[in-house]
């Protein structure tokens, strides 16, 4: 990636962040405030997570969809965006334990620094605290959306665990996994903006569809990047999915198009997890040879298009244009 050249959609992301900058600052304050506990390990670990930053994509969706739908009356969008980020952070903490990750966003992961036990328990705390925040907000509709999303996330993660190291995994199962582990919370986050703005059911459904489709696109690109990208740019460890034997779309496409010898390679490396130092490079070469990265990105574009269509019914305005541009940004990460 050439230094300094902006990604398509990067200006949209910058615009979007600017449009909700005050709201996001309020979210960050609320995160720190509501992660507080007399049990000092909790704010310590929380501070580590907050400092690690991250794109805050999910709260951004809640804030921006609320504003796009004309919400001006109060701070519910800030409150609910915080709930969403708490749930996301809890799942990250548990993911890192399950994946035995050493790095998260290019920095030492919480489990590497504080241990698996602390990550499990502080994740539980954040999850419980998210529900307390929702109860304070007082809407059963919100609680319904986020308890449903939380159950779907957990189901997706369990399915991912079951399909890991199993090269017989189908594309349908893979899509169910990424719908659970990523798209469900994107969908909920976007729908919540419509809830606080008191949109009608059709508008809330459209927001949810936007969130779900951009979420699937986001994860597809993430899975593509794991076989393609430059580690320094990404701030994540390239080849993680390969080393863990995760069955993602680039692998599924390459395997479907490969011969018996290639299948044996995938079986040995992903299913039996017998890997040598050269195997990642060979996996990348196979994926490139079969156009599997290109087609994964193409698939992400299709979902991006569906997200774009879901936005079409909303009145034009700066937030809508920025949410539209966000789709391009999510996909352009893969170039």
């Amino acid at each position: 990636m050439p230094d300094g050249a902006p990604l398509p959609g990067e200006d949209a992301l910058t615009t979007l962040i600017g449009l909700v900058a005050d709201d996001m600052e309020a979210v960050n304050r609320l995160i720190v405030q509501r992660m507080d506990s007399q049990v000092v390990l909790i704010p310590q670990l929380a501070a580590h997570i907050v400092a690690a930053g991250g794109k805050r994509m999910r709260p951004l969706l809640t804030l921006a969809t609320a504003r796009m739908c004309g919400y001006r009356a109060g701070q519910r969008h800030v409150w609910l965006a915080t709930c969403v980020e708490f749930i996301h952070t809890a799942t990250l903490l548990h993911d890192d334990v399950v994946d035995e990750s050493e790095l998260r966003r290019g920095q030492a992961s919480a489990n590497a620094l504080f241990g698996n036990k602390a990550s499990v328990l502080v994740g539980d705390f954040l999850f419980a605290r998210a529900f307390k925040l929702m109860v304070e907000d007082g809407s059963l509709e919100v609680l319904d959306i986020l308890s449903g999303a939380s159950a779907t996330i957990a189901e997706g993660e369990v399915l991912q665990l079951m399909t890991q190291n199993d090269i017989a995994t189908t594309e349908a199962q893979y899509l169910e996994v990424i719908n659970g582990k990523t798209a469900a919370l994107f969908a909920a986050a976007a729908r919540l903006g419509g809830v606080v703005a008191e949109c009608d059911a059709a508008a809330k459904d459209a927001l949810e569809a936007y969130g779900r489709n951009i979420g699937v696109a986001f994860q597809l690109i993430d899975d593509a990047l794991d076989y393609a990208a430059d580690q320094a740019v990404l701030g994540k460890t390239v080849g993680d999915d390969f080393r863990e034997g995760k069955i993602t779309l680039p692998v599924l496409l390459a395997m479907a198009r490969g011969d018996a010898a290639e299948r044996d390679f995938w079986k040995r490396t992903l299913e039996d997890r017998e890997q040598t130092d050269d195997d990642l490079a060979h996996a990348q070469a196979l994926i490139a040879r079969h156009g599997a990265l290109r087609d994964t990105v193409e698939r992400a574009r299709d979902y991006g298009q569906a997200a774009r269509e879901a936005l079409s019914g909303f009145a034009d305005g700066p937030e809508k244009r920025a949410l539209d541009g966000l789709i391009d940004f999510c996909i352009a990460r893969a170039r």
Copy 2:
């Protein structure tokens, strides 16, 4: 313990179980039904947990307090007792991961059979499912009680992790740990009976106090049993707390009453975790010599008395008598 001799209060437990037998059967059905998922590992692991049984103390509290307070109108007590058991099961799954337990109730623990990763993720699923059930019940008061209890449980578990292997732990910290890890959910479970029966605030507070105090008593006895009991009777591994370096009241009392050499022993075994085969027996001997088990049981009796007093305002009846007798049962386990 002599074979066949009933424990004090054992008849009360039997009576209590009989009084709510139909309700508990409904709880068991609902547990199986709502643990269902297309992700087959979830019902598999759930079936293991349900088969493992357990005393179902917490749902018993919700069912019995609801009946004591005259609730006859519907099935909300069954529904909420199921939520309580889901939260409890989720915390058990995560506890076993954190404690690296091989046994739970005398059988192979879920993490030993299915792996730590599955236990973390299925625990998350059960927790999310519990909140979905609460949302279906539709009461913000219930959601407030159980989200608050869940956050307190997680805080207690984190504090336990922080104080583990630290012989400078104070009695106040120990009490905070057991209030979190055990008494908070007992308290919530008992209060919920008052909520469904639409009791006034004073009665709900009294039920919560009953639950909290019996919960503390229950955990004190559990901690005493870890140094005293016969493994076959208990169905738990004796000496677990010692091996893990948990700082419990029997240890705190023995240490406070011991000399410098004994303190060195506790430091080596619990803080530095350098243990030989004879150390558990020596720990048991020190605890016995200083009357630390006796005094831990005595402390449990005090909490039992507070639980008894909390019940005093309720009208006499079979449920009240059985709930009163349950206090004796919890404490008599330690003889």
